[in-house]
Structure formats: structure tokens, C-alpha cells
Point group: C2
Chain length 245, copies 2
Amino acid sequence: MKQHMDADIFVPLLRASLSQWKQQGKRGVWIKLPIQLVNLVYPVVQEGFRYHHAESDYLMLVRWLPNTADTLPVNATHRVGIGAFVVNDNREVLVVQEKGGAFKGTGLWKLPIGVVNEGEDICKAAVREVKEETGIDAEFVEILAFRQSHQSFFSKSDLFFVCLLRPISFAIQKQESEVAAAQWMPIKDYVDQPYNQEHQLFKYVAEICRTKLERDYVGFSAMPMVTASGKKVYLYFNGSDFSKL
Amino acid sequence: MKQHMDADIFVPLLRASLSQWKQQGKRGVWIKLPIQLVNLVYPVVQEGFRYHHAESDYLMLVRWLPNTADTLPVNATHRVGIGAFVVNDNREVLVVQEKGGAFKGTGLWKLPIGVVNEGEDICKAAVREVKEETGIDAEFVEILAFRQSHQSFFSKSDLFFVCLLRPISFAIQKQESEVAAAQWMPIKDYVDQPYNQEHQLFKYVAEICRTKLERDYVGFSAMPMVTASGKKVYLYFNGSDFSKL
């Protein structure tokens, strides 16, 4: 639906269609209303539809026709974020202090972090965030760890992937809007920061990063693949163990 | 907002509040409208709000007040699913044939799969799905691999985690509604199915599962943690390499 339509024209059409769809044995009926057609939201709900999901510019409504349990797919449940562990050959890690956020003014040096955009690959989001925040070009190497948490944003959950990256450039040019400071910091100084030592999750992530530099710690590398339907996807797995074959 | 309110009462109140909030330097204004208050969706959009997200029973609207770029958090972008690789001591894997879905009638024996519920831990979702589909009790061991794909559901992306589980019970009692058949199948027969050999992604996942049984393949184990704010989370990482310390 794209063109403006008055409710008193739309509702009789919808009722006729619903009646026909029921006879045809249809089950789920979806109506996508662009925000310009917000005048139809009220009448559509009056016709027995409920909300399914919304984005900035549209609202998706749905109605299940049969008298059986609704098998409609669930809405998206997770946001996905990345933290980038970028280390140079001097065992220095790329760290930032943010202008805003929970750690503003605390002096804590953090890994660059960011949110994975809709439709973006995790491995590419890590490269993009590092470039945006610090000006450093880097290559994705592997995922070292990830954390799942709940109730992070309204009722939604959050998956956060710690990614190892190899820098290709070294001169820092920090983003003015979000980053207060950025530097290359010896890995020991990064890990030993009091906050990282005192908080279990931060301590584990920092120690996993240190372990990666000091010993054989293998994360999940990313392999691009094409599915049977022609979709490009990434499979993440322990490529080191797998390739020993 | 919970009680019914007519638009001609609500709109003047909203306008007065917006004016006050602008003077106070407020930036983002959120209005959560339960579906019972659907009559207010149209007037709220007329006041300059856009949709942010929706669930079955409410619509969240938002308006950014300053003349600066909107820094509002993005909506959830991913659905999360699991596939469960459950292997007994005879090197037999628990497989199912589904009554519906893309592989209905193809004869393909698949790992039990399912969607992670809102607020559910990945490691617990795998255990629940195995129990629901096959009646088998099992313990989560580790994540062997995961796949990210896009445009899986409207514009949303999908993360699918392949989990290794250790069975605790062995007598199959299949779910009648979704599962056509379930059995313990020799790992070789599972991997060698033509579909699994002919499709790159399925082949990799099957070979990773076989590798896990035959050699040292280490995935990510799950460690429960408590964050600084008291939230219970799971960190997934290569616990085997990490604990060698």
C-alpha cells in the first residue's frame, strides 16, 4: 500500500478481502502501512489486526485467520555490537576514551565498540568502526569471544562480539564527535587498568585478548559462503582446528 | 500511558509538554502506546513523531527535538536461532524430519533447530528445543560454529548457532505437531546425505560436527557471569585454550 486512501473506502475493501481469504483457507494476513498512511492504523486494528513490528517509516500489522494457534514468525529479538581488539607488532592495542556514554570522564581506555548496522556483516562492522573512530585501516582476523545479555534495550537482547583485527595503517586520526582520545597502548597497561581487573566480564575479555597475544588461543574465523538460494553469508568457526585435517 | 484518552484531550497536553521539554533541552521523546490506545497513533504522528518499533501489544513512537542529528538507538536487527548437534556414545547423532518447512518430504535428516525466544540464553534454547522436538534431555557443551545471514525476515538478519549437546536420556519421544520422524543416526550417514554434501554451508556444518567427534576441534563454551550492574550474562569463548594457562 502506497497511495493515500480514506478509511471509509479502505475498510469495506479490507472486509471483503478478509471474507474471501477465509474461504480460500488463507492463514496469516499482513498489512504493511507506510507512515504516510497512519490514518489507516486505527481502522485496521478495529478489524482485528495486531502490531507485528515497525521501522521508522512503516508499521506492519498482522491477523491470523483460522481458529488455531498462530504460527507467525517472531519479531527480531537482538541488537548486535562489536568490540575491536586491534594490535600492532609492538604488542600495543588501539584504545579510545569516549566523549559520552557510561565511561565518560572515568579515564578508562576501551576497545573501539559499535553497533552492527542492519544488513551488515559482523566482520565488516568491526573494520568500519575502527576506521570511523580512529582512522586506522585494519583487517578482520577472528572472533575471540562473544557475550549475550538481555533486557538491554526495552525487552530486547544484545549480542556483543569481540573481534581481533590486524592494523594496516598506524597513524591515528580520531573521530571528533564521539571520541575524546585515542592511542596505541601497551597490552599490559590495557589489561591492568583497575576497572578491567575489578569487573569479571571486562577482566575475562581483557585476559582473553592478552592470551591471544601470548599463547595459542584460537577464536572463530569468518568464511564467506553462498547458500543454496544464492545468498551470501558468513560461517564463523574454529578454522585452525578444522583445517588441521 | 494506559488509560483511554481522546485525541482532542491528549493533543493539547502533548503540545504543552513538547514546548516545555524543548525549553528544558530535552532531546529524544518516547511515547509508548498500548494497542488499546491505537486512536492516538494518528494524532501523535501528526505532531512530528515517527515509529521506532512495535510488539504485538504496543507501538513505540519517537521524536528528536533538537536541530541536530538524531542519536537514538537502533531497533533490534537480528533473530537468533540454534541447531543442536546431540551425539551419544555410539557416535550416533539425534536427527529429525520436519512436518513442514523447506525440507518437508525431501527425506533429509536434520539437526533439531529452533528460534531463541526473547530473553532466552542461546545455551538454554538449544537444550529446550531438543527436549521439545525429541523428548531427549541433554546438556549444552559448546558452540561449534555460527552463521550470519541477511534479509532473512523482512529487512532483518539472522544469527544461527550450531551447538554441541551431550544427551542425558536416550529414548526418543517426538513432538507430534512439528516432527515427522526422529532417530539416532550414525554420524557418517548424517554427514554423507547427498544434500549435506552438495550444499557448501550444510557441508561445512556437517564436516565441523564430524571433525568434533574425530579430532581436537574446540568451539566456544559458555561461562555465566554477572555484570557490574548485576545482570546475568553468558560469555562464550574458547575455554580450552584459555584454561591452559
